[in-house]
């Protein structure tokens, strides 16, 4: 039904949305969509974790540890993510041990997709460290002093007071970074990861329907980001407490 409509559209108007009627193109596009969603979800979670770990060590008593966190943030914040991806995939990837590919050959231990997740998580994680730090510094010092005088250990203080408050404060900035992360997944195309842009460009370089695929990409990414923003918005409302953010 839908397929027939788009086939007719192509024959009659020359508007070729091949992904809606060509089995092969549709499979490629859906694989691309799933890969983008998968990379996004894993990278978002990993970057949040990295941000939390980073900000914890940024407040460490040891100067060396603090310096290491600063170095990580500076390195990943100040270099283009495309360069990071290429570096990991082309330069580091070849040096790692290989595993059997099940056909009697050897394959690198990390695929392009895995490298994309590693690179994007590190990249977004560096920003998250700074975002969390901003949130933590905005937690009133009186609150922290009060908790310390009640005998809270540093870990409990973080877990039960600082992080919950800091999180509410930095959610808007965090949203920005996570939306950016979803869009940055398109860079994985440069290392042959079959995400959405890759799938689309495969299709348009064969079917020669650039205009249609570009529009489809636009709509797809707008929808993907809309879903993320909606989830974050719900979460923000659910966590609301009077007096902190709005």
């Amino acid at each position: 039904m839908i397929a027939a409509f788009f086939e007719r559209l192509n024959d009659a108007q020359g508007i070729n949305f091949s992904v809606f009627y060509d089995e092969f193109d549709r499979a490629r596009f859906l694989t691309g969509l799933w890969t983008t969603i998968y990379i996004s979800i894993v990278s978002i979670l990993a970057s949040l974790l990295l941000g939390l770990i980073g900000v914890w060590f940024a407040g460490s008593r040891s100067r060396i540890v603090r310096l290491l966190v600063r170095a990580y943030v500076q390195l990943f914040r100040n270099t283009p993510p495309l360069v990071q991806l290429s570096f990991f995939y082309f330069a580091v990837g070849g040096l790692l041990p290989t595993i059997s590919d099940g056909h009697g050959g050897q394959t690198p231990i990390l695929s392009g997709t895995a490298w994309a997740i590693v690179a994007l998580s590190l990249f977004a994680g560096a920003f998250n460290v700074e975002i969390f730090r901003a949130g933590i510094e905005a937690v009133p010092s009186t609150m922290i002093e009060a908790a310390e005088s009640l005998g809270y250990t540093r870990l409990r203080l973080y877990r039960e007071i600082v992080i919950p408050l800091a999180f509410r404060i930095c959610l808007p900035a965090l949203n920005n970074n996570l939306v950016n992360l979803v869009k940055t997944t398109t860079l994985a195309y440069a290392i042959g990861v079959p995400e959405l842009l890759y799938a689309a460009s495969q299709i348009w370089s064969e079917t020669l329907n650039i205009r249609e695929m570009m529009n489809l990409l636009l709509v797809t990414y707008v929808l993907l980001v809309a879903v993320l923003v909606w989830i974050m918005g719900r979460w923000e409302r659910a966590m609301r407490i009077p007096g902190y953010s709005w």
Binding site: F24, G94, H103, A190
Partner: protein, 240 residues
Amino acid sequence: MVAVGVKNDYKPWGFLEPSGQIIGLEIDLAKAVADKIGVKLELVPVTGANRMEFLKQGRIDVILATMGDTPERRKIVGMIEPNYYASATNILAQKSANLKQWTDLKGRKVCAVQGAYFNRRVSQLYNPELVVFPSVPDALNALQGNNCVAFVFDDTLIVSTLAGGDPKWADYEMPLASEDPQLWAIGVRLDDLDGSFGKLLKEMSVEWHKSGKLLELETKWGIKQSPYLIETNKKFKAGG
């Protein structure tokens, strides 16, 4: 001024020399075209994925970029006959990979380049897991880094890569029988195809075959004389 879309990653048909100039067999042909019309030549680097779009948008007037002449593309691009070159599909792989026939590619990671007409055919026939890169050097780097077991491409480029004498490729080979032979064509906009510009290019193409200019260029760029050119040269000579 004539703007010609050429490859800059396809040695020695069109590639960058260290000074940043694009040179190669196809660039020599582009120069011949510009000289013939008596205008300045502008070389525009294109890729397999964007060359037809560039032509359509008017950013270039001619495609001279290893373009295979397929029925689908003829709907969009005017293909100049006689075709100036021909290639077929093959793979570049490590000798130790032990690939003997096309069907051995099933389920294996195979590097490829975007926009190549045979990517779809190879993936539908032999079911490899294609890993497709924006450019030839990227795909070759990935192959060198063992990110894939083979690189599927025009046999012309593979032969010249292996013959280049680069020690990097000492352990590599072109193990399969080339298949799906494909003629290359100079592309112009459809409305130029039967106009004076298209006619001129057709005449030039006949002349290149007949005079042996294409064969000379192969020799100049260190490419083994290809059967297609030898045959076409004979045909045009016999035909007067």
